[in-house]
């Protein structure tokens, strides 16, 4: 039976007052002020990223020296930079790159962080070895490790994604591991073991679904760190290579002209802030609703 059919039957069986837990959670999320404001802020950036080809049709790398240093106004919504490139286009395509990088880092963390964390938490024989390496990776200061990895791989968008994934996977693995260790000892898991379920089935069906809440919360904060760290890398000249616009490299180039053309740094800076704040608020909201143990008291 597929899950939709199972769902229908479930819904038919129960009295009308009963709400499916997933739906109840969603309902609580959409009543949560922090979550909603985060969704609103991040939604702006997400919309800009997805709609970039339509709302910013001007090539963000097209030079037009005769238009250089135009302030924001009716002609150029966000003004132009030192090469006369439209900042509206550059910031919006930069949003797309930030979202791509952030979601790639999050996806890699979801896969590898879960894998490593589940293995370490479930199989005691692996725990020690995996966690020693994990601890060592976490001992490096995050940005320094990221620039070290970029030094090895060379600066590019793909390498920034790889570097940030390598930096943050150990942190995600640690969170998954601690939930798995607790869940492993639960009676219902012991019951599954007694019923003869294999390791793979126990992990996939009984443990991991219950370890998802803290992971989802972590991933929403991670998205914020990834966007922020990527902006830092490209501000230092170690991210995507110009002329590809990223918020970090737009700000790095605008730094020389910050007195006569302050909009070149303030507009991408504000976009970055909106993204990070939106994701942080989303994370706070998700934590309050999904993971009440970690709740900051309201």
């Amino acid at each position: 039976m597929n899950s939709a059919a199972a769902q229908l039957e479930l819904d038919a069986d129960v009295p009308e007052t009963h709400v499916h837990p997933a739906r109840a959670t969603l309902k609580r999320l959409f009543r949560h002020r922090l979550f909603l404001s985060g969704l609103g802020l991040f939604g702006i950036i997400l919309a800009a990223a997805v709609l970039a080809p339509w709302i910013a049709p001007t090539d963000p790398t097209k030079l037009a020296m005769r238009f250089k240093f135009r302030p924001p106004g009716s002609e150029f919504a966000f003004g132009t930079d030192n090469f006369g490139r439209s900042l509206w286009s550059r910031v919006i395509w930069g949003a797309q790159l930030s979202v791509i990088i952030g979601s790639s880092v999050v996806a890699l963390n979801a896969v590898f962080g879960t894998l490593i964390g589940a293995l370490a938490g479930y199989f005691r024989s692996l725990d020690n070895a995996l966690m020693r390496v994990n601890d060592a990776m976490m001992a490096f200061p995050a940005i320094l490790l990221a620039i070290g990895i970029t030094a090895v791989l060379g600066p590019s968008t793909l390498n920034a994604i790889l570097a940030l994934a390598i930096v943050y996977v150990p942190r995600t693995a640690r969170i998954v591991r601690s939930s798995v260790i607790v869940l492993r000892e639960m009676e219902y898991v012991q019951a599954a073991v007694a019923a003869g379920a294999g390791h793979w089935r126990i992990l996939r069906r009984h443990i991991l679904p219950n370890a998802m809440a803290p992971l989802i919360v972590q991933l929403s904060f991670l998205f914020a760190y990834a966007v922020l760290s990527e902006a830092t890398l490209s501000f230092l000249g170690l991210g995507a290579v110009p002329p590809t616009p990223t918020w970090g490299n737009i700000m790095a180039e605008g730094r020389q002209y910050m007195v006569e053309a302050p909009w070149i740094i303030t507009i991408p800076g504000i976009a970055l802030m909106i993204t990070v704040m939106g994701l942080n608020l989303l994370g706070d909201g998700l934590r309050d609703v999904l993971d009440p143990r970690l709740r900051i008291q309201q």
């Binding site: 001992a139 200061p141 070290g148 830092t232 730094r255 008291q297």
Partner: protein, 314 residues
């Protein structure tokens, strides 16, 4: 006490061993031939050979590994290509600058973070609480280099109160150090201020709900004593553990802050080293900074054990 310190140091050894292995592996993992990456496109075969010999890359990997550990034990981490100096001595010149900046930022973090967290917890659900938490959210969301740029525009360029960048050593001229370090330290600290305020607030609220707080109030203690003596001293214990993380975040953040304000610390040095493909410097510097942070964390652990008798007697 001595056995406690010894236990923590021994516990940190495997971490340091793996950290050193990872940093050793970095230069060897460069795709293709590291010497041509270091030498650049125009290097002649003879130059490449020279680079390989200088870095010991022409030897078998096992020999390189033995050399690396032998060097580590003697404090010899190779020679920086960019600086033309020993990696260890360059680090010893630059690290104190980063430590001074991070320490300044740490003081700002502790004062502002603890004060606003405690204050917000005591005024829970009032306007002040909400305002403090909104500011904390702003603090953890504003990129430190963006804040730094805004401060440069406002305080250095428009008002002319502080220099736009540069650095004066504390021992050379304390006032000059304050003038050059204040903006970088504030922009560096703000993220951690926000984090610490949030953590302090939730820890305080947790403690204020405990039975012994109710008892303290019931026996008629003045509120000031209840807060300062009973609540705060218990809330500070778990907060101590966060200090290690905060120091690591500060060092991490100093990379971009130092570059932005032209401060000659480790962050700026390592960024330059990466941009100039100075691999011995990157690898040695990264190892030394990380080892330094591991030591700080041992110190934090020991303090935590001393503060909390339950941990001490474990």
């Amino acid at each position: 006490m001595a056995s406690l310190v010894l236990r923590r140091v021994l516990g940190a050894l495997p971490v340091l061993l793996i950290v050193s292995l990872i940093t050793f592996g970095m230069m060897r993992l460069i795709p293709g031939d590291p010497s041509s990456v270091i030498g650049g496109m125009s290097a002649t075969p003879a130059q490449l050979e020279q680079i390989r010999r200088d870095l010991g890359l022409d030897e078998p990997i096992a020999v390189q590994l033995v050399r690396w550990y032998g060097g580590l034990l003697q404090g010899n981490l190779g020679r920086s290509i960019l600086m033309g100096q020993d990696v260890m001595s360059v680090t010893l010149q630059r690290l104190p600058v980063t430590i001074a900046l991070s320490a300044y930022a740490l003081v700002i973090t502790l004062v502002l973070g603890l004060a606003s967290g405690i204050f917000a917890a005591l005024r829970q659900n009032t306007l002040i609480d909400q305002l403090a938490m909104m500011l904390a959210m702003l603090g953890i969301s504003i990129p430190n280099f963006f804040l730094g740029l805004l401060m440069i525009i406002f305080f250095a360029v428009q008002l002319g109160w502080l220099p736009t960048g540069g650095y004066v050593g504390f021992t050379d001229d304390p006032i000059g150090w304050l003038r050059t370090s204040t903006m970088p330290a504030i922009s560096l600290a703000l993220l951690q201020v926000g984090l610490l305020a949030r953590i302090t607030r939730s820890t305080m609220l947790e403690v204020l709900r405990q039975d012994y707080i109710r008892t303290a109030r019931a026996k008629g203690l003045p509120e000031r004593l209840v807060v300062m003596k009973h609540a705060l001293s218990n809330a500070l214990i778990p907060i101590t553990t966060v200090v290690g993380i905060i120091v690591s975040l500060l060092v991490s953040g100093s990379v971009v802050t130092e570059t932005l304000f032209s401060i000659p610390g480790m962050g700026q040095l390592l960024t330059q080293a990466v941009l100039n493909r100075d691999y011995p410097m990157v690898q040695g510097g990264l190892f030394l900074v990380t080892a330094f942070l591991v030591l700080i964390n041992i110190g934090v652990d020991v303090c935590y054990s001393l503060l909390d008798p339950r941990v001490r007697h474990e």
